[in-house]
Subunit: 481 residues, 2 copies
């Protein structure tokens, strides 16, 4: 950090003036990530990895309760596996990177763009009986989608980190129910951990996963009025089981095809949090997702140094459950440190100087409101706890209000185009035909169907906003990342 | 599991009769891992991943105390980066897999065989001042060494999981000291977590890491008399810093080259534990490395089912700190379950039937000795805790005795060859010349120098066991994996 002074270190554009530039400055200057010297790639730096670790810990606890176990599958996938499920192969072919094979065979190997095929090959050997079901396995791994040319930090990159769950069930009902369970877990990661509100629903035929029967998703609206898909949970039906020869002997002692789902979230989650909460001073980490929730900055003068440092260390210990850390670096003044930790989004800052030691108090600053408060040392732990909880709630409420305000209905197609231009999440009756959706996309400079809300049923006889034929679903359209 | 009955499920060879076959049967049948349908690759199954997670958690806690932070770097490395450090490039070239580049450029990308080069490129931009040092970053990731043709489960595979730490320091002293700190952390993973005793030391010129100044290692002896290298910590000196242009402005305001180290362990650690402790019934997980340390098997008769299950659930709760789990699967009899959990190496088994409920007791079976004991329910938690601790100690002590017995000294080169044939770890005075080491290797069908113990100094004037020239080090030779 020492290479930059306070002035050049800060964010140089306002969020509302130029959000893309603001976003990449925040990600880079808060040291969450950096561009790689390889086209389309990025590095996840320690400050970003800490948030990723929070996401992994939170989600692992959720899926453990559902009986899911973690594992690790090979990253190389033989070309012949891809060809087994036709829709899947067509969907992913442009994205696949291939390894130069130095062996004595003509076989080609893909670097996984997703792992349904390689995992299903294993499952076809591991599953024999209904006693082996449900089989629920998840992996945390890197993924390669080679078609990405320009890296959009956290949002789109040639290589990224994600988790992918792959489950097999005896019955269709169990499969569908559990597919929705993981969607609920994704909602929890986004809303309860990162304080990013989402809507849950189904994807249209055009937007669903290649090879899936149904794709469910959680979708967020960013402050610039673009939708961001944050997680998907696919009911795969029996297509992959058929293609890969996964069968089991049922309770009736006959052979059956099982039902499958798969589901994934990636480090894109981090990007959504940055965009949703950040301000002109930089990043704001939702308290629940911050491993270090409190930073302590001592105000040092030579003659009172010993007392202040002693007190600061006591406070560090007192606040250990929040993984508070003491910034005792020399060669930086307190103002520089305040700016750095604001830029890096630590939820609560504690300032302590000689006068505070005398009065047995500290100054507490909350990152979202930047409100300063004098707190007596004896009350500090309770006060910090309450502040973190309130901040989590308040960040979520603010974002939720924005999401609600972005959701609008329209009278006709002209009004629809107008609202799309205004960057709204627009609710319409829609025929759900792929051709119609493509027309809408081209006539609106990129609006796509984002979600079909699960609890919103179409009225009988309702007509499609675009083609005026019978509508099939109530669908939300928006421009998106 | 239901596809196999108890008889075919067990290990069909004795460990002392055919260890390689015994080993792969244990790994496969205990469902730690499986061969992949891709040459040289394997899958880490949930039961194996649990142990890997224990290793990650244990090691993360160790390095956190040393100020190391986790991150994630790109898996693709531009070819030109490899060429920057010549020794490194030559050492790794045969192992590298290349990606077919579909972009409009002739640039080739390697899949990381190790990440010094890509990380040092980032470091050259991130490091400016002495204030940025030490910089200590670790990553958990997959690695590709394409030259592997036949997968030896956990021991050698084309793709594997590991961690790699990469640190940068102001001074040579600090660098060397910390290089040894990580070696100590590796000793702790192996000995304190997995109960696998190791010797610590330096590698010879021939065996050191390509591009390193010094390579330190921990080395274990497997029960079949083969050495297994389990972790390496490299003092890289300033070679990579020079090659990648990493410099910093020092406290003297002048430009300096920093010092670096790198260090890694892989899932091979799991293989060493399997070989060291397993027996003819299967796997034995060292208690400290077992996430689920206790399995509870209820003995069910229809009329007492309710009481037994109630008590079994109470015990599961009582033993929750050991992550005890209740095997309440239907369709398997208790004997089948006993065999399965013995095969899978769960440290302690609790059996509970109707008579036990009446007497408020259980039967406790310890995996290593298979000793059965009746324990009163009220004493159970204390008893389980003591048993796990004793088992951990006892597994380590047994293996330590074997390691010590394998370490021998010899009179002359003829005796040396004899002891190598007897699969010992043979201590000799050695000139440490690459040519001499190659001669020894060819004349002994594969013995290599394993380690130079740190605290064993060569006697003045001692001669090399092979060439009779002046010896440089006391070196341990053995055949190895």
């Amino acid at each position: 950090m020492a290479k930059q002074n306070t002035k050049t270190m800060g964010i140089t554009v306002k969020k509302e003036d130029d959000m893309p530039e603001w976003y990449s400055q925040v990600v880079l200057k808060a040291e969450l990530a950096d561009y790689a010297p390889i086209k389309g790639c990025m590095v996840l730096r320690p400050h970003g990895y800490d948030i990723w670790q929070s996401i992994m810990d939170f989600f692992n606890a959720k899926i453990k309760k559902r009986g899911v176990k973690n594992a690790y599958f090979p990253m190389f996938i033989p070309e012949k596996f891809f060809e087994k499920e036709k829709e899947h192969a067509e969907g992913f072919n442009p994205e696949v990177a291939w390894v130069e094979n130095k062996d004595d065979s003509s076989e080609r190997f893909a670097i996984r763009p997703t792992s349904e095929t390689i995992i299903d090959d294993f499952y076809s050997r591991w599953i024999r009986s209904w006693r082996d079901l449900p089989l629920k396995i998840n992996q945390w791994c890197n993924i390669c989608r080679w078609e990405v040319q320009d890296c959009k930090l956290f949002l789109r990159s040639r290589e990224f980190l994600w988790q992918e769950g792959h489950c097999v069930y005896e019955t269709e009902e169990e499969c569908e129910e559990d597919t929705l369970n993981y969607l609920e877990d994704y909602r929890a990661v986004s809303e309860d951990l990162l304080a990013v509100p989402v809507i849950l629903g189904l994807k249209t035929e055009k937007e669903k996963f290649a090879g899936a029967k149904k794709t469910f998703a959680i979708e967020a609206m960013m402050p610039d009025g673009k939708a961001l898909q944050l997680g998907t949970s696919h009911n795969l039906g029996q297509g992959f089981a058929k293609a890969f020869g996964i069968t089991y002997i049922g309770r009736d002692e006959k052979k059956h095809l099982p039902w499958q789902n798969s589901w994934g979230i990636s480090w894109r989650m981090i990007g959504s949090m940055v965009m949703t909460h950040g301000d002109d001073k930089g990043l704001i980490i939702a308290p629940n997702a911050a491993p270090n929730k409190v930073v302590i900055v001592p105000i040092i003068f030579e003659k009172s140094k010993k007392e202040v440092m002693k007190k600061a260390k006591e406070i560090e210990k007192q606040l250990s459950e929040f993984e508070a850390f003491l910034d005792d670096r020399e060669g930086y003044n307190p103002g520089w440190k305040f700016n750095e930790w604001e830029l890096k989004g630590i939820p609560v800052r504690i300032e302590i100087g000689p006068k505070d030691v005398e009065s047995d108090q500290v100054i507490m600053v909350r990152r979202d409101t930047l409100k300063k408060e004098i707190v007596k040392t004896k009350d500090l732990k309770k006060k910090v706890d309450a502040t973190l909880k309130d901040m989590q709630k308040s960040l979520f409420a603010k974002a939720k209000t924005r999401l609600k305000e972005s959701m609008v209905t329209v009278k006709d197609y002209k009004d629809f185009k107008e609202k799309i231009k205004q960057k709204k999440l627009v609710k319409v009756n829609f025929c759900a035909e792929v051709e119609c959706e493509e027309l809408i996309k081209s006539e609106t400079e990129g609006a796509t169907s984002r979600i079909i809300l699960l609890d919103e049923k179409i009225k009988k006889g309702a007509k499609c906003i675009k083609c005026n034929k019978l509508a099939k679903h109530v669908v939300y359209f928006a421009k998106s990342y």
